[in-house]
């Protein structure tokens, strides 16, 4: 028994047995990868390429037809028209703010889950954090519409303290986005902190560090890649969002609204395509920066 199991893995497959598939690893890999790569290559990469090409074309203002004349006009317009520039910077600013808010809120929760809670509480907390993820995105944005509404819950609860709902606008949008993406920040940080051994805390304490120093000099640096990993989600998701801002943002516009309006009612697909390259470029830069922190292994 023991000898047969020990010799089995070492034995090479006999030639002539099995089909070509099992014999040639390379051919098998190729055949397995072909369908998904065809799908993603055709349905996605080609679409992204086509999007870029379209952004170099232009729109005939009278007929609404796309004219295949090559130019950088859309990109120039994007930079020169102040409102488009403002909206782009505003969106990036809000995405950054949402990311910071989420990191600040998520860290103590994740630390509690990983190092303070009992195993049972830990399990319950994971469920409690995951549950809102499964509740529909729209429902959550909609829930905040109810919170911020005039005479709604925030007005009512804040009245004794003289606090008023900020009403629908950019503040409400930022809060709602931070709410929507918070679990995406908590989960990676929790996973990262769980991997930090307790002995490190003890070592830090033995060397004379207090709790706050331990967190600042030991825990935070170790959790940093996980925080960056979470920030990829919160940042990217905020950058492209244009639904929440319509629900709680009043008349404010973000990058996504400009793209959507130009695809739909304004019917200027080339300009929309050019404008949509902003989040792509920003995300590529962000991912390149995140890569240096080792965050991508934490996804």
């Amino acid at each position: 028994m023991a000898t047969s199991t020990a010799s089995a893995p070492a034995r090479a497959p006999r030639p002539g047995r099995g089909s070509l598939l099992s014999r040639s690893e390379g051919a098998r890999t190729g055949l397995l990868l072909l369908p998904p790569m065809l799908w993603l290559g055709v349905a996605y990469l080609a679409a992204l390429g086509a999007l870029f090409i379209t952004s170099l074309w232009s729109q005939n203002d009278f007929t609404g037809e796309i004219e295949r004349i090559w130019s950088f006009d859309n990109y120039r317009q994007m930079w020169e028209v102040p409102v488009y520039r403002t909206i782009a910077f505003r969106t990036i600013g809000i995405a950054a703010l949402v990311t910071v808010i989420d990191a600040v809120l998520a860290f103590p929760v994740a630390l509690f889950m990983a190092k303070v809670a009992s195993p049972r509480t830990q399990r319950l907390m994971v469920i409690a954090v995951l549950m809102p993820l499964w509740a529909s995105y729209l429902v959550k944005a909609y829930a905040w519409r109810g919170m911020f509404s005039e005479g709604g819950l925030i007005d009512w609860a804040g009245a004794p303290f003289g606090i008023q709902s900020p009403g629908y606008g950019l503040t409400a949008t930022t809060i709602t986005l931070a709410y929507l993406w918070l679990p995406y920040m908590i989960l990676p940080i929790y996973a990262g902190l769980e991997r930090v051994p307790d002995s490190l805390f003890e070592a830090s304490g033995d060397l004379g560090a207090g709790s706050v120093t331990t967190i600042r000099r030991v825990v935070l640096p170790m959790a940093f890649p996980a925080i960056v990993a979470g920030s990829i989600f919160t940042f990217s998701l905020s950058l492209g969002d244009y639904i929440a801002v319509q629900i709680v943002g009043g008349t404010s516009q973000l990058l996504g609204n400009v793209v959507y309006t130009n695809v739909g009612s304004a019917n200027n697909l080339p300009f929309a395509a050019a404008y949509a390259t902003i989040p792509v470029v920003v995300m590529v830069l962000y991912l390149a920066a995140a890569r240096r922190t080792g965050a991508l292994e934490n996804l």
Partner: protein
């Protein structure tokens, strides 16, 4: 542990506050579905079951729900096939394109939804000359759902190793028999977890959907979004929202039964 009592207490309190902030809005949706007032003033002037009855008979909501389920099922099937193939293909191979393949799989979800949405919209309409509708939604959803299945399959394959399959091959089973009798049973719960995530992702998606749905087809999120701002429909939307909050317990329950795999891989949206 050297975290002192005060800090532990502070962490516990902060966690409690965040949890309350997370659940109050959801609870508000639940309560408001019984609110007599159409404008949801707080506190509710009275409670009623009327909106639940109206919502149950709302033809638009029911139809949209069916469309959403159909789209999610089809997208999940495509994602299951393609994600499994990709997971199996990338296993034990160290060819240089490995990272490119993983990147390509994760890209549709890593890029903001509007980018994926407008890219597909442009490809379908301008490049391929297709009319937007049911089919284009399924293609779009399947594209960003592949990653959930792929992640789960890959994690599972890494954990179980290849020894059982080698044993099966040594005992004379061909690759298809080995897949059917050894690989597939090992993957089953990972596939279920991946499918669950893919279904949830598709069922809830709105950004890419608005770009690929066209004017005729309504999924449930699109129906909600279009009726959100109509004062007449708002209470019905609220009931649908409350139902979705309740239903979100179902996948959580299933995921818990499926083992811890799901928990970590959900971190990918």
């Amino acid at each position: 542990m050297t975290l002192n009592r005060r800090l532990k207490a502070a962490l516990t309190v902060l966690t409690g506050v965040v949890l309350v902030a997370v659940y109050v809005p959801l609870a508000l949706v639940m309560v408001n579905s019984f609110n007599v007032s159409r404008t949801f003033v707080w506190p509710p002037p009275g409670l009623t079951l009327h909106w639940w009855k109206v919502a149950f008979h709302s033809a638009g909501a029911r139809h949209a729900l069916l469309v959403s389920i159909e789209v999610a099922l089809l997208a999940t099937v495509v994602a299951l096939v393609l994600g499994t193939l990709a997971g199996l293909g990338l296993r034990r191979t160290r060819f240089y394109g490995r990272h490119v393949v993983s990147l390509l799989i994760i890209l549709p979800i890593a890029l903001p939804g509007i980018v994926t949405g407008i890219a597909l919209n442009n490809a379908f309409r301008t490049m391929l000359g297709l009319d937007l509708g049911f089919f284009t939604i399924v293609v779009a959803h399947a594209t960003f759902c592949i990653v959930t299945v792929f992640n789960n399959v890959q994690a599972r394959l890494q954990r179980v190793g290849a020894s059982l399959e080698q044993a099966s091959a040594d005992l004379g089973a061909g690759p298809f028999t080995t897949f059917r009798l050894v690989t597939f049973p090992m993957l089953r719960s990972a596939l279920l977890a991946g499918a669950l995530l893919a279904f949830g992702l598709s069922f809830d998606e709105i950004v890419v959907t608005t770009f690929t749905a066209g004017p005729q087809v309504q999924t449930l999120p699109i129906w909600i979004f279009q009726n959100l701002f109509r004062p007449n429909q708002a209470p019905v939307v609220n009931v649908v929202a409350a139902t979705l909050v309740l239903l979100s317990a179902v996948p959580i329950y299933l995921a818990q039964r499926l083992s811890g795999d799901v928990v970590t891989s959900t971190a990918t949206p």
